[in-house]
Subunit: 338 residues, 2 copies
Amino acid sequence: MNHVKQAKRTTIYDLAELAGTSASAVSAVLNGNWKKRRISSQLAEKIMKIAEEQGYALNMQASLLRREKSHIIGMIVPKYDNRYFGSIVELFEDMARARGLFPIITCTRRDPELEIEAARTMLSYQVECLIATGATDPDRITEMCAAAGVRSLNLDLPGALAPSIISDNFAGARELTRRILVNCERRLGKKGPLLFIGGRGSDHNTAERIRGFRAAHSDLGLAVAEEHILACGYAPEKAEKALDDLALKGDANVGGMFVNSTISLEGVMRWVRRSGHLNDDSLVLGCFDWDPFVSLLGNEIEMVRQDVPEMLKKVFEVIESGVSKPVVIQVPPLIPQM
Amino acid sequence: MNHVKQAKRTTIYDLAELAGTSASAVSAVLNGNWKKRRISSQLAEKIMKIAEEQGYALNMQASLLRREKSHIIGMIVPKYDNRYFGSIVELFEDMARARGLFPIITCTRRDPELEIEAARTMLSYQVECLIATGATDPDRITEMCAAAGVRSLNLDLPGALAPSIISDNFAGARELTRRILVNCERRLGKKGPLLFIGGRGSDHNTAERIRGFRAAHSDLGLAVAEEHILACGYAPEKAEKALDDLALKGDANVGGMFVNSTISLEGVMRWVRRSGHLNDDSLVLGCFDWDPFVSLLGNEIEMVRQDVPEMLKKVFEVIESGVSKPVVIQVPPLIPQM
DNA sequence: TTGAAAGCGCTAACAG
DNA sequence: CTGTTAGCGCTTTCAA
């Protein structure tokens, strides 16, 4: 093992010279397709040994330039601050590698400009496929990709121009709402109506969840007041403020809440603690999202967990099937036994 | 905007032909260094317009192959399942981009094999610098990088061969322990001794935190029993089981605990809830880590938050200064006012 | 069983 | 002010 700092990296030409052979032989051996070329195993071993000794590392840029396929797969993701996106990224990397692909991921902080900047960069890196997770403007990304002849997919939030894999937000929200209502009756003796809080009314998922929320109410003959739907955004402070505003209007005597994400739940819980509803069963909560600490919060908060493994399974199925029509695949979320 | 699916991507030669000029002019214009070449702004604008129309995207592989520097910076990170690593990744991407670097990040699940596999791949992609975050075997990575003439840095967990930026675990743990002891006295009327739980005894951070834990006890003339140091690993189940075992030995009458991470805290809290210490102030906790839900758990859990912005600032300072000696830079963690 | 050579798309001298 | 040219390191025919 030599530790000489080399100004220039070792190339296959260096190895060829050391082995007394040619660059093409070295290339073939190092790529493992040397039986096809019927290179003597003697030469092959010699080359491998020398490569090892020299600490040779392939120059992927050169390799990729010459090759037709890059085997790079890209993903853009909005945030790393919750378990949902964290598990998407972790599992995506795993599954991509298992398929011989090289995953590159970038976080765009829900910033539309950054999203398309990131997409452009990924295209420069010759991604073969780009997955836009929770993108604010997925169709713009799809258009960019299409122009470069690259396929794209939407995950979590759907787009109109590419295949989309999303949770079944309507069914999940309806069932979650139903459970919160049941818990209300059991614990408070009265059935709702509930408050909906968190998320953006403009995003598809939130709209679908509100629809499910309404459906569950009307299933039981309950009416939902317009002012009890608070799609105030995702940030904790926004949820906290929305509840303060509601309380100021003297209208905070709801028995239960449907919270649209753990991030919003953070704000809700801060408000709850502040306003003295702590742990006394007087507030019945449900959250369309999952985090291990939530079940330890002590309010028996019902959770809906999006089925990340199944969603990613579908993602790779779509990629491998070659489908690029704008279908929407809905994956049922997981709801623990009641 | 043409939406024709092109089998072949547009190159600078295509653009040059369309603009009636040469590839080098196109290259210069697209790279922004055309005033150096004193290309007429007329030509420049024409080229840019055509590039736009054609949806041209640079082939980074070709560009990088020719250029001397890749401007790619790599990071490996153990997990995405907690706020600490999540914020490291998010901020790292930001800071890298702000410096004109392209960040590539990969998650290695605390798997030593995956770590070096990932490092090797990043080297193939010509990273100029590799940051090993919380690596189980940082020195092996440093050696690989050194052999390829690439600089490397350790973050969160130190190594012996490259600069390391880590939290001041000793001081942080000592202060956290002191606070837990004060809380014990205030809430329970007795001062410790405490239990230490979570982490691996073999990792530097855990060892330093145990040292700080011990120091805070001896500052107050308290002794720490060997069997009250439970470096049982990070997984929640391991913490839960360790506490069960301790309780079985009839030795669970500790007044307070120092929990080594939010991941371990998850297991601790499950055990607490199960064993009936819920919310009754009979258990005083502190956690060397931060998560917004922890402050909502209701046990007044003291937290130490690692100073991610400051740590990453140091990382880039070291990179930019060109230092590659194995120094260890310790960043004080943040502890909220008492 | 092996080597020579072309060329992937781009950049940077250098020569006008 | 602009074009020609020589590679970057690798893969892959093709010829021997």
